[in-house]
Symmetry: C2
DNA sequence: TATTGTTATACTCTATAACTATA
DNA sequence: TATAGTTATAGAGTATAACAATA
């Protein structure tokens, strides 16, 4: 801005970054008790003990490239939280399921994390939270639209997206994200 | 929450993460024109062509460990954007200054990035931005307080913090952050 | 031909720690 | 003793691409 004052837009940009750092830091502190990184936690939340999920689907949900998911699963399997099982219908694919230990750890992590989130976010009153959600939601929607004005270039992490898009699954993905 | 509905707190948590991803992605797209990573951009903004800055001070400002700063500077120096010069008063220290090319690149990046931020954030009206800033600011303050309830454990990235704290510079750092 | 998952390479950033040369 | 900066190692995460097995 002209007069040396910091613009609202810039301040908004700074605050979004700061909020993320603070929230992420709190998450890591909580998840450290289960020895989980945020990504591992996110992966565990996509799995169950019965059907499981294919690696590719997990990657699509979390916007991760295949190789990243492979190695996260390697760690989780090494630690005994998940198991790779053959997919019956598609012999190329594997379904990853939670072990008993995995179920336990995931449930503990989910419980502790949820409680932590509730308490941390309680800095704002319920009414303020509603306001914040409305504004942040509109901002997120606007930013998402702005990133692909000409129909391409959705996210910087595009490998998975491109695969999905070429597969006609983009709407499906956006739905999942919005859910 | 009990009935399967997602709590406001959880939704807030999710939105903060999503906002960050979207903003960061936009940043990377803009900065890619100058071949800068977000961290390199942040470092350049702390430097000038005259006095320069000591590596340690840059690290403290950006909450980075010494070794990270060393290697960012290596890259920037390799690309001809900065120069390491001896500090006259302290022969252990080096002052990093911008080269002519560095000044040009930094100014270009600052200009383009600022314009991009203004246009991206314009999704919200000025009035909405004021509301968002007020709420996000309160939330950030609350989160920051919550992270060190007993006086320690400020941020997960603590290496620099610990050094500063043992040095009695914590207040100074907090002031810098808040500015 | 396209997809699933693995492997390999390279790069950014983080964390830790050993090391030097100064202070 | 403590500090400034470098170097080394290890890890998480990203991006890209080659590859084998299968569809």
């Amino acid at each position: 801005m002209k007069n040396g004052a910091v613009s609202q837009a810039k301040e908004q940009h700074r605050l979004i970054h700061e909020l993320y750092v603070l929230v992420d830091d709190g998450d890591r502190q909580v998840l450290a008790e289960q020895q989980l990184s945020p990504l591992e936690f996110a992966v565990l939340q996509q799995l169950d003990a019965d059907n499981g999920q294919r690696l590719t689907d997990v990657g699509a949900l979390l916007l991760c490239v295949k190789s990243t998911i492979t190695r996260v699963m390697d760690r989780l399997e090494r630690d005994g939280l998940v198991l790779r099982t053959q997919d019956r219908d598609d012999r190329r694919a594997q379904r990853v399921v939670l072990t008993a230990k995995g179920v336990y750890i995931r449930n503990e992590a989910v419980r502790l994390h949820a409680a932590s989130v509730e308490s941390r976010m309680a800095v704002l009153t319920p009414a303020e939270q509603r306001q914040f959600l409305a504004l942040a939601g509109r901002l997120a929607t606007g930013l998402r639209d702005g990133l692909h004005p000409d129909g391409n270039g959705y996210l910087h992490n595009e490998a998975t997206l491109l695969e999905l898009r070429s597969n006609g699954k983009e709407e499906e993905l956006l739905l999942r994200q919005a859910s």
